[in-house]
Each structure stands twice: as structure tokens, then as C-alpha cells.
């Protein structure tokens, strides 16, 4: 067993691209679900419009990258409005149903053959990271510390991505400590009580949906820019649920919960996979129990088990306050 390899992979995953992307998605979700109590099961939809906003603007329209980013932000705002206008007046579960459906509808639209001229169909769009990579200040070589190594392109993606994570965390921190954030938290507890105190609950929920959605769209943009391509099937429902796992792991309604949750989630994912794979390769685990092709599935079982244990022994997540969970919300 090459333990150094296992650990270096795990550490690289913990601060790698996926951890960064899911941290952004989860920070957005945290505003929705953790602070406002909005059950948004379509965070991936916001990621997709962000990614395609950049991709289509740059490749199809030939616009510069900054314009593409702007398009992505506007698209995420529009999506929030489209989802929110009909559902935010209704009970919370309606938003859950509509958002999960909207995420899938968007994916099917993006991969539909009819729109191939714009979206590239199931192949997606490629080669739009030119501007992004040209701006890379890192020269060729390897970057990292101790056993962790990244290429110059990776380190550029990570620098920009984690900066965005930091900025969005800062934004959320500033928002939720303000009276505005207090209204959101109150809506999470009981929106009728908030209405009875003269607050326009609908407007606050809409603002929350937009802000969290735009942060989610940055996750999509970073995912797309890191590879210079966007593939529709990367934006399935599982992505949303991974983001939820990250959020709950770290602790909903905490400032750093979604970020640390995401890092931990990808660390565990990498660690379990590499360990199982090496154990199988070195015949510590005989083929009669598990073969190399089954590692992927067994890995998810282990991660699932870990999550179950977490929910049993630490339902508030890593940063959560146990007293909050103990409190009945209604």
C-alpha cells in the first residue's frame, strides 16, 4: 500500500477543484436552506446557467470572458425570479418540487439536439477558457507544499476559485449578522410570525434565492472554466445532493460549515476510493469479496455509512450548535 500516495491524493482533493466548486455551491445553498429555510433542490440549475452563460457568450457570440461572467450572473438572477415568482408564496415543499424539476429541465434543454447550434447538444461547449488561461500569472511548473502538488493551470483555477469562496463567505457573514439576516433567520423559523410583524416575507425570500443562486452560478462557472468546457451531464441532480451533503456535513446555518464540509467530503471521497483501490490491487481484499470495478460503488456505501453516523452522533454538523437542533422549530 502506497500510503503517501493515498494521503497526497486525499489532501489534494480537500483543496482541489471539486472541493472549491462544491464549496461555492454549498455556500449559496447555505443562504437558501441554512438561513432562509428554502428547500432549493435545484442548485445545479444555477450552476448550469452560470456555466452555459460563460460558454455560449464566449464561443457562440465571441464575447470576452467578463461579459460571459456577467451573462452568467444575469441568467442566475432570471432563473431565481422564474423559480421564485410562482413558488415563494406557497409552502416550502413546492419550491423543492419546482427546483428539482427545473434543474432537470435545464439539463435536458442544454443537451437537446434542437439547440445544438448554441449549446453543442450532449457534447457541450469546448475551448472557452482561453481568456482565463491567458490571465494565468503562474509560469510552467509544479506548485504546492509537502506532498501536495498542482500544475500551473490547476493552481490558477484554485487561486481564483478559493478567492471567490472567500469573498462569498465574507458576503454571507456580512449579510447574516445584519438585521437583513435576522429577518431571513426569522422566516426560516416561522414566516407567518414575520409577516405579522410587518415584513415582506416574499421579497426577502426572493432576495435570498437570487443571492444564493448567483453564488451557485459562480460554482458552475469555475467548474466550466477549469476544464474550458461544459458538458450537460455534469449538471445532474446528484450535484445538488452532493452540495447538500457538504452543507450538512459542515453544519447548515454556520459561516464556515459549507466550506469545511466540502473539503472534508472530497477528502473522504478520495481517501476511501484510493484506499479501496490499492487494497484490491495489492490483494488485501480478495476478488471474491470485491473487484476493482466495484470500488466506485463500495466507496459510496462507505461515504453513506459515514454520513449516517454523522447524523446520529452529530446531527448539527461539524460547526453546528447542538442546542439549535434540540429545539423544535414549530
Amino acid at each position: 500500500m502506497n500510503w503517501e500516495n493515498i494521503f497526497s491524493n486525499a489532501l489534494e482533493s480537500a483543496i482541489g477543484r471539486d472541493a472549491m466548486v462544491y464549496a461555492l455551491a454549498a455556500v449559496g445553498l447555505n443562504l437558501h436552506f441554512g438561513y432562509t429555510g428554502l428547500l432549493n433542490f435545484g442548485q445545479v440549475g444555477f450552476m448550469a446557467v452560470g456555466a452555459y452563460g460563460v460558454g455560449i457568450s464566449v464561443i457562440e457570440f465571441g464575447w470576452p470572458l467578463w461579459a460571459g461572467v456577467l451573462v452568467g450572473i444575469v441568467a442566475a438572477t432570471m432563473l431565481a425570479l422564474v423559480l421564485g415568482v410562482p413558488t415563494l408564496r406557497l409552502r416550502a415543499d413546492y419550491l423543492a418540487i419546482v427546483t428539482i424539476a427545473a434543474g432537470e429541465i435545464l439539463r435536458f434543454i442544454f443537451r437537446a439536439a434542437e439547440f445544438r447550434d448554441f449549446t453543442g447538444g450532449s457534447n457541450g461547449i469546448n475551448g472557452f477558457a482561453g481568456d482565463f488561461n491567458d490571465a494565468n500569472p503562474f509560469s510552467n511548473g509544479q506548485y504546492g507544499f509537502w506532498i501536495v502538488k498542482f500544475s500551473e493551470t490547476q493552481i490558477w483555477v484554485l487561486t481564483v476559485g478559493w478567492t471567490l469562496v472567500l469573498l462569498s463567505v465574507l458576503l454571507i457573514w456580512a449579510l447574516v449578522r445584519s438585521p437583513w439576516g435576522r429577518v431571513l433567520k426569522a422566516i426560516r423559523e416561522d414566516e407567518d410570525a414575520v409577516r405579522a410583524l410587518g415584513k415582506n416575507v416574499y421579497a426577502y425570500k426572493m432576495q435570498s434565492l437570487i443571492v444564493g443562486g448567483v453564488i451557485g452560478s459562480f460554482a458552475g462557472m469555475m467548474l466550466a472554466l477549469s476544464a474550458g468546457s461544459v458538458q450537460p451531464d455534469n449538471y445532474g441532480t446528484a450535484t445538488t445532493f452532493f452540495a447538500y451533503v457538504c452543507l450538512l456535513l459542515g453544519g447548515a446555518a454556520t459561516i464556515w460549515g459549507p466550506v469545511v464540509g466540502s473539503m472534508l467530503f472530497w477528502l473522504i471521497m478520495s481517501f476511501t476510493e484510493n484506499m479501496l483501490r490499492q487494497a484490491v490491487d495489492n490483494d488485501y481484499i480478495p476478488d471474491s469479496i470485491m473487484t476493482g470495478t466495484q470500488v466506485g460503488q463500495v466507496r459510496f456505501m462507505l461515504v453513506g455509512l459515514l454520513l449516517v453516523l454523522l447524523m446520529v452522533f452529530r446531527p448539527q454538523g461539524i460547526f453546528g450548535d447542538r442546542r439549535e437542533i434540540a429545539m423544535t422549530t414549530r
Binding site: 456580512a174 409577516r195 410587518g198 422549530t329
Partner: protein, 315 residues
């Protein structure tokens, strides 16, 4: 004439006199009404939950709204405060049309309600619950919220106001605790105190003493009286007739969605319509066979009439 036990009398005297020329009849006009409603109906399918022709609530007094379970008291509260929409009806609060106004705007106008099932915001501290109530907060606007200097002074002022109210409602020691850790009675107090943060003109209390231990209920009675002594108008729903007798200047009785009687407590308890509504029409006298036959015949006639109506509808 009701016996008022309110402290700081002289004031209360004047107010009770407001009803001197008011006839004790459902829908009677008041000298200075703050809330006037006309033709309010609310149907849930075939059930008419509220059917109020006309009702006026006098400014600056405590009006008790009583009636048996299912009389439509809470539904009327929901309608008047914008939490539910009536099938028909118009109503005016302080001279302004309220029909079609959303619940949060009704609250901003100065008509603030509490709920029968207390809505403490559990995972907010008691102090945050209070500060949430303050209206016109700059820091509650999205962009301003990001610039603390713009709202800090207001926040400090609200905190001082909240502290004073918590002191008055004996909740100061709980200010830093989560509201979810309060007892049932403390939650009722918190909800009242929070409603006062809005600076309302009219507070509508839906069963403020329900499920509260007698000692705390007594203190809530005192608080309700203080509200009126400060010039607020109070309308409250309550089942405990002792409480109603102690604090109401005026009592409105509802049954089956209608206002069936209005008046001072002393005359209400003697009103045969009220007694019928609470105890049934035949209380005290055994039902004779002739009565029974008549009731059956009436019921039969009603069923037939309904069937006929349904057939006509279907045709």
C-alpha cells in the same frame, strides 16, 4: 355597568363611558371606531366559517371576542389582518381601506396580531425576536445591511427599546437565550412584547392566556390592561370567562360565524342568545317527545331542502 379593576382609574372611567349611548345589539355603531367591517364572509367549501354583516371596534378600549369552538373567531382575525382572504366584504382600519392589503402591510398600518399557537422564533434569541419586531429598519434593506454604520445607531436604539419591553414583561433574564427554550407562558409574553415593538395602534391577541399557568395568566391580564391604559386598542379572543369579565370593556359574541350579541359583560352573560349558543337551545329543560319529533322534522326538512338545491345546481 362593568366593574373595572384597572389601575390608574379615571382614565378607564372615560373609556367605559364611551359605550354609554351604544345599544347592546350585534353590529351597533360606536362613537369612535378604529376598525369597521361590513359583509365579511368566508366559506370553506360548503361551510360558512364567517358571516359578519357589520361590526365596529371602539378605539382605545379592550374588546373581548368570545364564542364556542368553531365560532369563527380566529378566522375573523385572519381575515381582518390579511392572513386569509374573505369571499366577500370590506373593512376599514383607522379610516383606511384594508381589503386586499397583504398581511405585512396591515401590520405596518398599525394592526398587529398574535397567534393562538404561539409563534416564538425558536432558534433566534429572545433579544433577536424583539429586535425583529421594530419597523422601518434601514439594516433590513439588502444593500444597506452590508454597511453597518448605516444601521448601527438604529440597532442600538431598538435594543434599548427591546430591553425596556423585556423588563416590563419580566423576560430580561432570558434575553440571551434561544426563544425555543422559553416556557409556554413566557412565549406568550414574548409574542406580546414583540408585537409592541411594531408600535401598533391595535393589537389583536388570539387566546393570550391559552395553556398558561394561572399565575402567569394573571400577569398577562395585567399586561393587557396596561396596553389599554397606554391608549392602545386591544381586541382579544379568550375562553376563560373570568378573564373576559375582568378586563373587557365590551364583549362581542360569535357563534357559527355570526356576531350574535354585543354588549357589556354583565348583559352578555344574561343574554339568552349567548346562553343558547354556548349550552344549546334545550339546556335545563328535558327534551319532550313532541320536541324531539319537531327537531327531527326540522332536520328532515333541511336535508330535503339541501337535496333540492343540489339537484337544481346539477341541472
Amino acid at each position: 355597568m362593568t366593574e373595572t379593576t384597572r389601575p390608574g382609574t379615571g382614565f378607564s372611567r372615560v373609556k367605559v363611558d364611551a359605550f354609554e349611548d351604544v345599544p347592546e345589539e350585534p353590529g351597533s355603531p360606536k362613537p369612535d371606531p378604529i376598525l369597521v367591517a361590513d359583509g365579511i364572509t368566508r366559506r370553506f367549501g360548503g361551510l360558512t366559517a364567517v358571516d359578519v354583516d357589520h361590526i365596529e371596534f371602539q378605539r382605545g378600549v379592550i374588546t373581548g371576542l368570545i364564542g364556542p369552538n368553531g365560532a369563527g373567531k380566529t378566522t375573523l382575525f385572519n381575515l381582518l389582518t390579511g392572513f386569509d382572504k374573505p369571499n366577500t366584504g370590506v373593512w376599514r382600519f383607522d379610516g383606511r381601506e384594508v381589503r386586499g392589503v397583504s398581511a405585512h402591510k396591515v401590520a405596518k398600518m398599525g394592526m398587529v396580531r398574535t397567534f393562538q399557537l404561539t409563534k416564538a422564533l425558536s432558534r433566534l434569541t429572545v433579544m433577536d425576536n424583539m429586535k425583529l419586531g421594530a419597523s422601518g429598519q434601514v439594516g433590513e434593506k439588502f444593500f444597506s445591511s452590508l454597511i453597518p454604520p448605516r444601521w448601527r445607531a438604529q440597532e442600538t436604539a431598538n435594543e434599548a427599546k427591546a430591553e425596556a419591553l423585556l423588563e416590563r414583561f419580566n423576560l430580561t433574564h432570558m434575553a440571551g437565550e434561544f426563544a425555543g427554550s422559553l416556557s409556554g407562558g413566557q412565549r406568550k409574553l414574548l409574542e406580546m412584547a414583540r408585537a409592541l415593538m411594531v408600535d401598533p395602534q391595535l393589537v389583536m391577541l388570539d387566546e393570550p392566556m391559552a395553556g398558561v399557568n394561572p399565575a402567569l395568566a394573571q400577569s398577562i391580564v395585567g399586561h393587557v390592561q396596561d396596553l389599554a391604559a397606554e391608549g392602545l386598542t386591544v381586541v382579544f379572543v379568550e375562553h376563560d370567562m373570568d378573564v373576559v369579565r375582568t378586563i373587557s370593556d365590551w364583549v362581542v359574541v360569535m357563534a357559527e360565524g355570526r356576531v350574535i350579541a354585543e354588549g357589556r359583560h354583565s348583559s352578555i352573560v344574561a343574554d339568552s342568545r349567548v346562553i343558547d349558543a354556548y349550552l344549546g337551545r334545550h339546556h335545563g329543560t328535558p327534551i319532550t317527545e313532541a320536541d324531539e319529533a319537531q327537531i327531527l322534522a326540522e332536520a328532515q326538512a333541511e336535508i330535503e331542502a339541501e337535496e333540492r338545491a343540489r339537484e337544481e345546481e346539477g341541472a
